[in-house]
């Protein structure tokens, strides 16, 4: 080699220069990463080590009007696993399955939850019993990715009694998540699934908090508490309802388990729903956190249809309870007054093309409107219907809001069926020559024909009868009342109608057997034909007659006679009025 000192010095200079340049290059690269991009990398490092564990917020407590609890929260436990991959999650669950019972379905559900949000702990047991939690706590060291957190669990102390309106809660479904209404929901969170829980989801939900756990690269929890300041969950404010739990429980006790019926009680002055019950009932507590498959099957195969709400979903011909609607229309039109008689007395039927029967085959004789209401004379109302004519019957029903939902603050209320107009609707249905307006009028005037109402909507109509002609929107939760004038009758006419209805629940009327001591009840029975099955029984009424404070609607499927419903209704009224007038000291 050429080892002349001059050559060597030249090469050494080149080598030094290259070295210094190389190290400066490195220094620059590290400066860029560590100083200039520090915030970005620091955030990534923090994201690496912290996992958010959601802290479920307690849902708002639901109270009745007297402060009795309808829905509350019990301490519960959710078991979840943190995992970097779906496969490691599967194997971690399998390991857990050696000590606690875990089904294959639960494994798959957990993997699905993980896929939706891999950085959130995947919930394996949303509602673990305490003994399972105890077993797992003992083995925490062997399962470092395990996260056990207390989660409030919804509980309805009077479960079956409130099933008809309270609803239940459950994990938000994929379909719900896809809905734009639920953009702020994350998989695994609870959501109101029906009844008040769903109607008032926004108010009841509360605000989820978050806790941070520190994990290592394999998702094992290294530090639990205090790794990073947690955000405490915010409980939702309580929800006050108009429900009178004492009355509600009483209604349940009256109906028992054998009837298929609906009962609704309202304060006619502000629409407050005092009780709402559909029989047979079910236990919403069993729905919370996932409905057991066998219970679900049992409820769905039950011929009495417990999940079908007879108050807000069931639609039936209103039958004779409708006669008050016909009366109001005729009086408002100035065609008939309470003391007016019809041209033809009741002989057990009326001939109009064909023979239209009165329910009383022996006839009511010559009756005025007052008596016709008391005894529910069909022949009288056939003639009122003819006087009114089809267009006024249809327009009148529409004015009485018989085509609209009552607006009760529950989801899934059914819209009533009623003709939208007097001509086209029937033409389309039967063909232009297939129907006679008179016959249709006869049927409509006694609450049969193209008319099917929900119990709650009929109850709303009766709040107008009980007051000054204003129908009150049913309100389960205390809101600002909404009352709409649907009848324009004089005070005297209204009072007269109420007196006639009081006659129904008297020795002269069809609900004679439903009378109770001490209070005067006004109302109207209805027996809806349901061939070939037994008739349905209706009763709608209010008490006390002079200043009504409660409207009760009762519907009994296959009840056969209106008075069957009336007997239940008057008992409910008596219970409410006596409890309401009794001094506080004696209520306990």
């Amino acid at each position: 080699m050429s080892y002349h000192p001059h050559d060597v010095a030249r090469r050494a200079t080149v080598a030094r220069g290259l070295l210094v340049v190389g190290f400066l290059g490195f220094a620059t690269a590290f400066f860029r990463a560590q100083v200039l991009r520090n915030a970005e990398y620091l955030a990534q490092a923090e994201q690496n080590r912290f996992r958010e564990v959601p802290l479920a917020a307690p849902r708002g407590i639901i109270y009745d009007r007297n402060g009795r609890i309808i829905a509350e929260n019990l301490p519960g436990y959710a078991v979840s696993l943190l995992s970097p991959t779906a496969d490691s999650l599967r194997s971690a669950i399998r390991r857990l399955a050696n000590v606690i019972p875990i089904t294959e379905d639960q494994v798959e559900a957990a993997v699905r939850r993980w896929r939706k949000n891999p950085t959130r702990p995947a919930v394996i047991l949303p509602d673990a019993p305490f003994d399972v939690v105890a077993v797992l706590e003992e083995r925490r060291v062997e399962n470092p990715s395990l996260i056990i957190q207390s989660t409030p669990k919804r509980y309805y102390p009077d479960g079956p009694a409130v099933a008809s309106f309270v609803g239940y809660t459950g994990e938000v479904t994929e379909r719900e998540l896809a809905d734009t209404m639920h953009t702020d929901y994350k998989p695994g969170q609870q959501i109101g699934k029906g009844g008040l829980e769903r109607s008032y989801e926004k108010q009841l939900r509360g605000k989820e908090g978050v806790r941070y756990v520190e994990v290592d690269a394999r998702g094992r929890v290294v530090r639990d508490a205090g790794a990073r300041a947690e955000v405490a969950p915010q409980a939702a404010p309580p929800l006050r309802t108009n429900i009178d739990m004492d009355l509600q429980m009483y209604v349940m006790s009256l109906l028992g388990d054998s009837l298929r019926a609906g009962v609704v009680a309202m304060d006619p002055n502000d629409g407050a729903v005092l009780a709402l019950y559909s029989a047979p009932t079910f236990d919403p507590n069993r729905f919370v956190g996932g409905i057991p498959a066998d219970y679900w099957r049992e409820l769905n195969t039950d011929p009495r249809r417990p999940l079908y709400n007879k108050v807000i979903q069931g639609r039936y011909p209103p039958a004779s309870t409708w006669k008050l609607a016909t009366s109001a229309m005729a009086m408002e039109a100035g065609l008939v007054q309470l003391d007016d008689y019809m041209p033809q007395p009741c002989t057990g039927g009326y001939r109009y093309g064909r023979y239209f029967r009165c329910w009383n085959h022996s006839g009511h004789g010559n009756v005025n409107l007052r008596q016709a209401i008391e005894q529910s004379c069909d022949v009288y109302f056939y003639q009122v219907g003819l006087k009114l004519g089809l267009s006024r019957l249809v327009a009148g029903g529409i004015k009485l809001k018989m085509r609209e939902r009552s607006g009760v603050d529950l989801p899934n209320e059914t819209q009533p069926q009623f003709p939208p107009d007097a001509q086209n609707y029937f033409n389309e249905r039967y063909g232009a020559r297939g129907w006679v307006p008179g016959s249709v009028s006869l049927n409509l005037s006694i609450g049969q024909g193209e008319n099917a109402q929900t119990l709650i909507n009929m109850a709303r109509f009766y709040t107008a009868l009980a007051t000054d002609g204003k129908a009150a929107r049913p309100e389960i939760v205390t809101r600002s009342p909404e009352r709409v004038q649907i009848m324009n009758l004089t005070e005297a006419q209204m009072a007269g109608l109420r007196l006639s209805m009081a006659g129904v629940v008297s020795s002269r009327g069809t609900a004679n057997s439903a009378r109770v001591e001490g209070i005067t009840v006004a109302g109207k029975t209805g027996t809806a034909q349901n061939p070939p099955y037994p008739d349905h029984a209706w009763f709608l009424g209010f008490a006390p007659v002079d200043k009504p404070r409660i409207v009760v609607g009762v519907f009994v499927e296959y009840g056969e006679h209106g008075y069957v419903a009336a007997r239940i209704a008057t008992k409910v009224m008596a219970r409410y009025l006596k409890a309401a007038t009794a001094p506080m000291a004696t209520t306990e």
Partner: protein, 414 residues
């Protein structure tokens, strides 16, 4: 013994690097889920003591003795490399490769570490014996063979990282022996062709440059033609070679270009290493307190990625300190090399420098994705006995060369 004067700066720098390194091996063991790494700093300290003793022994061997020993050491090394291929076994992350010499179930060591040293010695001997540096490709056959035989044996293990070190040593020592830089470029041209072949345009530009280079340097006609032909061939076979690579090798190269293409698997290590270093900031998260390391996000934190721990826990300041120590070491070795008594000693010093330099550049560059991952340790830092020993043997040889060299009066100057 008093005749020789200790090269104090060299020893101090090497001691500083070693202590810094042991501290980092200790920190690498401080994880939230304790593993075997926790106790490695003790073993490393033991190796450190042994290594210093070995360096002292080595420093007593005169350069002349080394010169005499070199051929035997070289042949012995080749024998051990062959033996390793026959009875070797893998270890740690490179379990499938045969890099450890195992006798009777005991892992004796990695002959490749010894090979780095003996190849430097042998190459120095071959180059020093020439009056003039090699002027043509034909004259290079002897040095090329000295490096080529062990290189092939090591690539058969396979140990790509050490293979790269050999190439670095080869070029650095040729440079130091005075080989013209244009000739060096011509030698390197097939490899450059191989890399650039993935872009036809780049390769075309390179090819024109090569023609120019050949015209300027004017090698023998046959050599010129051979170089051009080889470049054409490598350019053509590059895509074929690419197909021949194992999928994991292809992935490594692709991930080097963009780690995010496989962030969960092959890109994971590089990304987490970058996050660790970048999150260190100016002053770091504090000794032993790096979260990326504590929670095992940094892979191989005690060996290949130990520099990520330096970056995370000691920040830019710590990185600068470590790099400055290395720079000081290298500048010192250049000084030793340029003041050596004879070409042989000078070339040894420069060869040892090249070996360290490739390690440092590759290892440190890898942690920031400036270099592809090859699994090569960081001298004085990475946990590992034979590497520590080899590094300090080098220090011992350098001490000897320094003491025999000129200008021992101004020891303070680096």
């Amino acid at each position: 013994m008093t005749r020789r004067i200790l090269d104090v700066p060299l020893v101090l720098i090497a001691l500083g690097l070693s202590l810094f390194g042991i501290a980092m091996v200790y920190s690498a063991g401080q994880t939230d889920n304790l593993s075997f790494v926790a106790g490695l700093w003790r073993a490393q300290s033991g190796w450190f003591v042994i290594s210093i003793l070995a360096a002292l022994v080595a420093s007593r061997a005169s350069v002349r003795l080394l010169d005499w020993l070199t051929p035997f050491a070289y042949v012995l090394t080749l024998a051990m490399l062959v033996l390793t291929l026959v009875i070797g076994s893998g270890a740690g992350t490179a379990a499938s490769s045969k890099s450890w010499l195992v006798i009777g179930g005991m892992r004796i060591g990695q002959p490749a570490e010894l090979a780095k040293l003996t190849v430097v010695l042998m190459l120095a001997r071959v180059l020093a014996n020439r009056r003039e540096p090699p002027q043509s490709l034909l004259e290079l056959w002897h040095p090329a063979l000295v490096v080529g035989i062990p290189w092939v044996l090591i690539m058969l293990q396979p140990d790509l990282g050490t293979g790269i070190v050999f190439i670095g040593i080869f070029f650095a020592m040729l440079f130091w022996s005075g080989v013209n830089w244009r000739l060096l470029l011509l030698i390197a041209s097939p490899a450059i062709s191989l890399v650039l072949a993935f872009s036809t345009r780049l390769w075309g530009a390179w090819f024109l440059l090569l023609i120019l280079l050949v015209w300027l340097y004017r090698p023998y006609l046959l050599e010129g033609i051979a170089i051009v032909c080889i470049n054409v061939v490598t350019g053509v076979v590059a895509p074929i070679l690419w197909e021949k690579l194992a999928p994991y090798q292809q992935k490594r190269l692709l991930v080097f270009l963009d780690p995010s293409i496989d962030a969960k698997a092959s890109g994971y290590h590089v990304i987490q290493s970058q996050v660790a270093i970048g999150s260190g900031g100016w002053f770091g998260k504090g000794f032993t307190l790096g979260t990326q390391k504590r929670l095992n996000f940094v892979p191989e934190q005690q060996t290949d990625f130990i520099f990520a721990v330096v970056g995370e826990e000691l920040g830019f300041i710590g990185v600068t300190l470590a790099l400055s120590l290395f720079l000081a070491l290298f500048l010192r070795v250049i000084r030793i090399s340029s003041r050596a008594n004879d070409p042989y000693a000078s070339l040894i010093a420069f060869g040892l420098l090249a070996s360290w330099l490739v390690h440092v550049f590759e290892n440190v560059g890898m942690t920031l994705n400036l270099m592809p991952i090859t699994g090569i340790p960081l001298p004085f830092f990475s946990y590992g006995g034979s590497f520590m020993l080899a590094s300090w043997l080098s220090v011992g040889i350098l001490m000897r060369i320094s003491s025999e060299g000129r200008g021992r009066g101004d020891l303070a100057a680096i």
